[in-house]
Symmetry: C2
Subunit: 428 residues, 2 copies
């Protein structure tokens, strides 16, 4: 009997390859640095939430809620789910912690796993990872722009080149309802050429038809959409301000009137960031404003905006653009020891080296398996060791080790008491 | 209708308080640094696993498996659980990635959430977080010692003072079976004074009786245990070597013959690290050797050892020992702007400042809400800003900003074009 990971999940293993834990670490460290510059602070919500939270926030008829949530009952018979996205839990946490009663304006970021019970395919795992931000408590158009600028800064810092930002404005609740009504009327006339999914969408939420990739649906949409002028003056002004802010910073974007996003909570500005390297599932991330979600969830009327980036999607692009974008700058020092006394010395020495503050990132390792010197040198090589300390019976009797520079192959004898200083010269 | 987090889970919010996201970040950064020194590499296994994995690894009759797992069926009708611990998934990942067929010796660390459907109480959450390590592929006693030294190094680096390491040796599989048999015999004679739980344990796994906190059970155990000499010569030699390694490094520990751990996979060295500040749930962490788990799970016969520390437990102790152990060294720079032109200038300026590499950690923020200057200065104060740039209509016309040092209250005028250099002098 062997055991496998659950379908649609994957281990993130250490190694230099794409998808390795070092790449996740690098992407996270870069993100934390950028978030800190923008003064966004980390929030970590639990992996499990009550199902009702997402039904309310994302919408009862959305694909996520109807088909894609990992759902189970706990002993108290409540319906629990593995969180499918980060915004609803953060709004829940914001209200539960009563931020709206004190410092209503809060800027959060999050990094962590999300879950969807979809059929796994390239770039769509059942456990995937998102990096996102939410600015809660402001209606200012500068916030819409800041969220987009922040997302672009993250991608730039991760050295992702060639992404495209596409922006739309859905307007306020009333504008959205008006658009929905207009679309329902226009599309109903051409219902016969719509795909089966769109026929259903037309009944439940006509805006979702805009998401359809089917060419015959798209041509109907293009026709129906041309005549629609649905933004009220206030929303139109808001959107112009957002675009003006982006222009002032030289952020490149395209306007795309078909972006609606698959979650019901969005109002006003919505956006997607896509990459041509990703094929048909081309979104690196997405986001927008959600000015009614906080009040819908029992809180006050507060504006908010956010985005989420998919880490696995970022890694696919990073791998295609060359996997060396996140270099590992760690120095490895290996102690090769032969014989009982040398082994004991190595054990002490490795542990005192590990306890010192070094100027550069350094790892220290040795062998406990009584391998031959040759095998130990091979091991040091495999670890990418920059320096090897060699200790045998001879060295023990002389109270010294041989320090070998693996690049130049130069070897010098160093007294045990001088080893730390000798390495400090090389690592600090 | 308001929404709450699931019972036994908690949001980790940003702020300076114990349990805040900054403390988790600090503990994780410290841990990564120490793991890197010891040359342990990160592995991230999924949050969900098949239930059968833990039934096999931890033991079908253990509390974790019988009572404490969050379990549900996926659409394929397999039983899925939220992982209750980290060792079994890592061994599963090790075998699934075929490490045993190439570089059998691997040293991993992990940081992440674990789940137990227990009744929540102080220091026992349903979603909690562990930091742990697993060294797989070695029988060397130096590895048992290294794992303990690594754990102690982590706690020292986190500035946790006053923890106690308690060590035992369960011996090999045969020794463990022998002890189990001896105990069953000895305890059966005094069954009447054992608690109900221990009566059951006596049938299923007599070793678990050693875990009982009930005083009448403990006195029976002490009596029964005195006469037991169960370690074979090889295991006795292994244990002496482990203790010798710890002694050579000056690691303090106590021998405790009653430690068995609640998971069936342990053999040989087992240990717990406890702290008196924690009360009755006093374990900060625990670990040990598990030389049969890899073969039990369908792999080859390979030695292994590991430990896990509980992050929430560490934070309880850190809070009691003074929550300032993880200082935030970030500088905040705030732009206070009055008037439309100044706001626009502030938006541009804040975004160019955010894009620069600074010598020290720095955050940049401004106001988009048309607050009064007084309200903006209050906001800057609340954020702990070290410097505030003040821009109004006057400054715009002069092409400069007022740079205020919030500590000294000194104010100087700085040309817009000199702002970056002026701040560089202060932040680099």
């Amino acid at each position: 009997m062997t055991y496998k990971s659950v379908k649609g999940t994957a281990d993130i293993l250490p190694s230099g390859l794409a998808g390795s834990s070092e790449l996740y670490q690098a992407i996270e460290a870069i993100s934390r640095n950028i978030f800190q510059r923008f003064n966004y602070r980390e929030i970590r919500t639990p992996v499990i939430e009550e199902r009702s939270l997402f039904v309310k926030a994302i919408g009862a008829e959305t694909d996520i809620v109807t088909k894609e949530m990992f759902s189970f009952r706990d002993r108290g018979e409540r319906e629990i789910v593995l969180r499918p996205e980060g915004t609803a839990p953060i709004v829940r946490a914001y209200l539960e912690a009563n931020f709206h009663k004190q410092d209503a304006f809060q800027k959060f970021y999050y990094i962590g796993p999300m879950f969807r019970a979809e059929r796994p395919q390239a770039g769509r795992m059942r456990q995937f990872h998102q990096i996102g931000a939410e600015a809660i408590g402001s209606m200012a158009p500068e916030i819409d722009a800041e969220i987009i600028v922040l997302m672009a800064n993250l991608l730039d810092a991760m050295k992702i080149k060639g992404y495209k930002i596409r922006i739309n404005n859905l307007g306020c609740k009333d504008d959205k309802a008006g658009l929905s009504k207009t679309l329902r009327g226009a599309l109903a006339k051409e219902k016969s050429v719509l795909c089966d999914d769109c026929k259903k969408r037309l009944e439940i939420n006509p805006l979702r038809v805009l998401d359809c990739k089917n060419e015959s649906c798209r041509s109907v949409i293009r026709g129906a959409f041309k005549s629609v002028k649905f933004l009220c003056n206030k929303c139109d002004g808001h959107f112009k301000k957002v675009l003006g802010c982006l222009d002032s910073l030289g952020i490149k974007y395209e306007l795309d009137p078909y972006i609606v996003r698959g979650l019901d909570y969005y109002t006003q500005t919505v956006f997607e960031v896509t990459h041509p390297e990703l094929g048909s599932q081309d979104a690196l991330g997405a986001g927008g404003r959600y000015d009614n979600l906080i009040s819908d969830m029992g809180g006050p009327q507060l504006g908010a905006a956010g985005f989420a980036l998919g880490v696995e999607r970022i890694l696919i692009v990073a791998a295609k653009q060359g996997a060396t974008v996140y270099p590992d700058d760690k120095s490895v020092i290996y102690i090769a020891a032969m014989g009982q006394s040398a082994k004991e010395k190595a054990f002490e020495l490795i542990n005192s080296l590990r306890g010192i503050e070094w100027g550069k990132k350094a790892s220290f390792d040795t062998d406990y398996e009584d391998k031959s010197l040759k095998a130990q040198m091979r091991e040091a090589d495999k670890l990418g060791a920059k320096f090897v300390l060699i200790i045998g019976d001879d060295e023990i009797s002389k109270g010294e080790a041989v320090l070998r520079d693996m690049a130049t192959k130069e070897q010098i004898a160093v007294k045990f008491s001088d080893i730390i200083n000798a390495l400090k010269g090389k690592l600090c």
